[in-house]
């Protein structure tokens, strides 16, 4: 089969690999029909995530058709079209039993601080991902769900991570009716978080980024006020001015490890790998939220330390809520919202690349060319 293969920082190619086989009785093999590139895939691409091995296939957002199942699989059979949450989880460990599917303790031997994620390095379990023609889906009775007939492929693939993660970010913000919410980052997750904030009853939603085309999308897609931080000497002061010098009730970091806005932070984190991530957006969130407010973090960071302004967080009495999104817990509600047109994930898709052009696709995403927000990857067999 053809698969995207990592060759070192900033380098990928498509290679012939063996079709994955059943390795556990509850495995399924899925033929990928549509995959996506996530902003967090760039952390791998840029060599920021420890234990990203040459030969690894990325891709934690994908849908496809089941072609084989293990002996204990009861809920799926060959031919089913499925959407697969980015979390790999067992369903019965201490954490899964409590709904913390993204924190499963039974699927990632390489680390205890993070669960299992498809195509996200050995730090996340060493599973090849879905930017390929076929993928191994472990614990198939627990993760995947059959795609409803009414759902488009684009909506389905975006419901495997970006849409639930944005929606989850708004939940982590503990938004009350009328709250002012600042979302840092107008990428795909930030757009979904901003749109979701309204559903939680926000009175005002502000989005901050430095890419004008993404801020325009935040205005049209998420009905948000927007600020380009490069146009201001100090974006935190602007946020204070915009909130009568109190600060917002809620701030959401939807950027994560490669945040721009402070060259020293970015270079030490993204280029020199001396930090787990560049916490520029997180620090802005901490400083822009009001005392007693809430900061939600859904931007992904690496496992190393980062230079976070924790003193401000403590002195302001800020509640910080974080986690990787337990996707499947969000699905029933999100299916309703997509069906009712309250959330329209497919509207953020900007590009479709054949799998064979995966290196171009990553370069476009990394260098932010051609107005890219959410690129999809189409395997040739699909």
């Amino acid at each position: 089969m053809l698969a995207m293969v990592y060759r070192g920082p900033y380098k990928l190619r498509v290679e012939e690999k063996d079709i994955p086989s059943i390795e556990h009785p509850n495995d399924a093999i899925v033929q990928v029909q549509l995959a996506a590139i996530c902003g967090s895939d760039l952390h791998l691409y840029h060599g920021m995530m420890p234990d990203t091995r040459v030969g690894h296939t990325f891709g934690h957002e994908f849908i496809g058709k089941v072609v084989d199942v293990g002996s204990s699989v009861e809920n799926l059979r060959a031919g089913d079209r499925v959407m697969v949450p980015f979390n790999i989880f067992c369903g019965t460990c201490y954490f899964c039993a409590r709904g913390l599917y993204s924190n499963c303790h039974n699927v990632n031997p390489n680390a205890t601080a993070v669960g299992g994620i498809y195509g996200y390095s050995h730090t996340c379990g060493g599973y090849d991902g879905g930017q390929a023609e076929f993928v191994r889906v472990p614990l198939a009775d627990v993760g995947p769900t059959k795609i409803p007939d009414w759902m488009s492929d684009e909506d389905a693939v975006l419901l495997t991570d970006v849409c639930p993660t944005g929606y989850f970010g708004a939940q982590l913000g503990e938004i009350s009716e009328g709250d002012t919410v600042i979302v840092f980052g107008a990428g795909a997750v930030g757009l979904m978080a901003a749109a979701s904030s309204w559903l939680m009853g926000a009175g005002r939603v502000i989005v901050v980024d430095h890419l004008n085309y993404r801020l325009e999308k935040a205005q049209t897609f998420a009905h948000a006020e927007t600020y380009n931080f490069t146009e201001y000497d100090d974006i935190v002061v602007e946020m204070k001015k915009a909130t009568d010098y109190l600060g917002a009730d809620v701030a959401i970091d939807a950027v994560g490890a490669e945040a721009d806005g402070n060259l020293l932070q970015h270079v030490t984190a993204a280029k020199l790998k001396l930090q787990g991530g560049s916490p520029v957006a997180l620090n802005w969130a901490l400083d822009s939220v009001r005392k007693g407010g809430t900061v939600a973090v859904v931007g992904a960071y690496g496992p190393m330390f980062s230079a976070v302004k924790f003193g401000d967080a403590m002195n302001k009495g800020i509640t910080i809520n974080t986690n990787q999104c337990p996707v499947k817990r969000q699905w029933p509600r999100l299916f309703e919202h997509v069906r009712n047109g309250y959330l329209k994930p497919s509207e953020i898709v900007t590009h479709r690349f054949p799998l064979e052009e995966i290196s171009d696709a990553y370069h476009v995403m990394s260098a932010k060319l051609d107005g890219v927000i959410k690129p999809l990857v189409v395997p040739s067999l699909a």
């Binding site: 556990h24 009350s176 309204w198």
Partner: protein, 194 residues
């Protein structure tokens, strides 16, 4: 201007949000959100029909965090350890917990060694690494990279200039080392012939 109890709700709550935003407030009850409460014991919800997942066969020794009591029942089998990078990674897992910077720094160093090993290995194949195609830099022309960057006020442009150095640096260094080694060999041969 002093702050007063009333100051706050200046948050200019959009009076017309209900009309303007389809679905506004549909999830405004915090207790009726999918992730409330954060921890909700519900084994029925997952579809699992086991108390503990069956254990996947360990066909070759699998590295694991020493913060785990043992190998997890299910694990990825992609890219097993090999070469010098494999030795480094195995040591990082065996010796240091996730709490130690040494663990992660060794893994990142192993990643770089891995890339070097694989680049060299590829030179011995019919498909050596090609930095032009593998970096996707051709997309610059196809998608008009210069225009996407110029005059846009993009702050990332300031550090994007470092990217070619990150990609090409190891190649330049290895070329320089090869040149120096070759020159040294030739000089020593000449001396021995003289």
């Amino acid at each position: 201007m002093a702050s007063t109890a009333e100051t706050s709700r200046v948050m200019r709550t959009g009076a017309n949000v209900r009309e303007r935003i389809p679905g506004w407030g549909i999830d405004r009850d915090p207790k009726d959100r999918p992730s409330y409460p954060r921890e909700r014991f519900d084994l029925e919800a997952t579809g699992a029909h086991w108390n503990e997942p069956e254990h996947q066969a360990e066909r070759q020794p699998r590295e694991r965090s020493i913060e785990h009591a043992g190998l997890t029942p299910v694990f990825g089998t992609a890219q097993p350890l090999k070469g010098l990078s494999g030795v480094m990674r195995r040591a990082a897992y065996a010796k240091y917990s996730e709490a130690r910077a040494a663990h992660w720094l060794m893994l990142i160093a192993a990643d770089r060694v891995d890339a070097w090993e694989e680049h060299l290995r590829s030179m011995l194949t019919l498909r050596p690494d090609n930095p032009i195609t593998e970096t996707g830099v051709r997309a610059e022309r196809r998608f008009d990279g210069p225009r996407a960057r110029m005059g846009q006020g993009r702050t990332d442009v300031r550090h994007q200039v470092m990217d070619p150095l990150i990609v090409a640096g190891p190649w330049l260094v290895s070329g320089a080392l090869a040149y120096l080694a070759g020159r040294s060999v030739i000089r020593s041969l000449r001396r021995s012939w003289a």
